[in-house]
Amino acid sequence: PRPASRPRVLLRAPTLAEMEEMNISEEEESP
């Protein structure tokens, strides 16, 4: 069980548009 005193670490997230751009550039890079 997780101790209540330990805070969770906030994971920063890109916006949906940024994810889309990253996805497009990954697809362009891959053969």
Binding site: R2, R8, V9, L10, L11, A13, T15, N23
Partner: protein, 394 residues
């Protein structure tokens, strides 16, 4: 000999362990190649969402932030990809809207945030995320859900649009009312629609098909209400716009037909338990236009009655209907210019748009009220048809 000891459900923690290298296979089998009408038709509603969330729980449990991120990113990108590929298929879009919403609800329900834990069992509280706060990813998923919702609305409108003018205005179901054409000649009556003609029944059947599919997919009831409200808005707006541009639609008998059709739509709402979703209110401009076609239009008292009755119509719309109004026989006169001027004078102080036509592109803003699930994650079993044997129940 190795002994296979089946674990009791109380021993499962409601997580699914997977290897990083299996992530692509996971999204491929669960999202990209899953057919709503195929194996998915037998799944419990929201199962893909629960499976993805249970995988996420495990990545969180082992404190692997990179694994959490890549799973979320792959999930979001895969859903977008399948919707780009099959975005004109209503079932696909509805399926992923309901699963995206369920995924969002899981992220909240098991976030550890007390505001979302009020309806949790103690076991569900034990299943909250251990290490990571995914509030920012919840926002991304929410934005994705909004995009999918808008896509669903467009998909439905493409199907409904061709039916509306025919079903709401042109096809006549009330026998004897429209026996006389505006030109004075008697029409051939027919209770059977010509082949290829849409009727009001076509519209009602289509609305029922949409509703049934959304229910089967486990779409949140509050979301279904918003979808139906939007559907009724488009039906009302397209019908009214057509009426405002056609002289042959502006007669007493057409007003009667429209009021009958609207009553059938209201009956449909009643039958589905949707009378409070706001859908009926979106038809108010059309209802008032139909009433305007039927009321007297001669005296100052008539003008006052019209002005107080037509609160949902703009001055431009009222004046247009009056100008287009066509008597059905030689005993009735057209609306006089003086009467129309009286109406305009009475309404001159209204602060409103000079727009004549309703905006058929308008989409009401959507919300996704939190809807926690009572499903116990540790009881979920994955059907073999999903081909996810590489996931391990933990």
């Amino acid at each position: 000999h190795p002994v296979n000891i089946p674990r009791r459900e109380k021993d499962f923690q409601g997580m699914l362990e997977y290897k990083k290298e299996d992530e692509l296979k996971l999204v491929k089998n669960l999202i990209l190649e899953l057919k709503p009408r195929g194996v998915a038709v037998n799944l419990i509603p929201g199962l893909p969402a629960y499976i993805l969330f249970m995988c996420l729980r495990h990545a969180d449990y082992v404190n692997d932030d990179q694994k959490v991120r890549t799973l979320l990113t792959s999930t979001i990108n895969s859903i977008k990809k399948i919707l780009k590929k099959r975005g004109d298929d209503f079932e696909t879009v509805s399926f992923w809207l309901s699963n995206t919403c369920r995924f969002l609800h899981c992220l909240k329900q098991y976030s550890g945030d007390e505001a979302f834990m009020k309806h949790n069992t103690s076991r569900q509280n034990e299943h909250c995320l251990s290490n990571f706060d995914l509030a920012e990813y919840r926002q991304v998923i929410s934005d994705l859900a909004i995009q999918i919702y808008q896509q669903l609305i467009k998909c439905m409108e493409n199907i409904l649009h061709p039916m509306i003018v025919s079903g709401m205005l042109e096809h006549e179901t009330i026998q004897g009312v429209s026996g006389v054409k505006p030109t004075g000649l008697r029409k051939r009556t027919s209770s059977i629609a010509d082949e290829g003609t849409y009727t009001l029944d076509s519209i009602l059947r289509q609305l029922s098909a949409f509703h049934s599919t959304m229910c089967q997919h486990g779409t949140d009831p509050e979301l279904i209400k918003q979808v139906v409200k939007q559907q009724f808005y488009i039906i009302g707006a397209v019908t009214l716009n057509n009426l405002l541009l056609r002289k042959d639609m502006c007669s007493w008998s057409k007003g009667m037909q429209i009021r009958y059709n609207v009553s059938q739509l209201e009956e449909w709402l009643r039958d589905k338990g949707l009378m409070t979703c706001g859908a009926k209110e979106t038809l108010e401009p059309l209802i008032q236009a139909a009433q305007l076609l039927q009321v007297k239009k001669k005296t100052d008292e008539d003008a006052e009655a019209i002005c107080s009755m037509c609160q949902a119509l703009t001055t431009a719309q009222i004046v247009k209907v009056l100008n287009l109004y066509t008597p059905v026989n030689e005993f009735e006169e057209r609306v006089s210019v003086a009467f129309i001027r009286t109406i305009q004078t009475r309404l001159r102080d209204r602060c409103e748009s000079p727009q004549l036509l309703m905006d058929t592109k308008m989409i009401y803003p959507v919300t996704f009220p939190f809807n926690p699930s009572c499903l116990a994650l540790e009881t979920i079993q994955i059907p073999s048809s999903l081909q996810l044997g590489f996931l391990t129940r933990v």
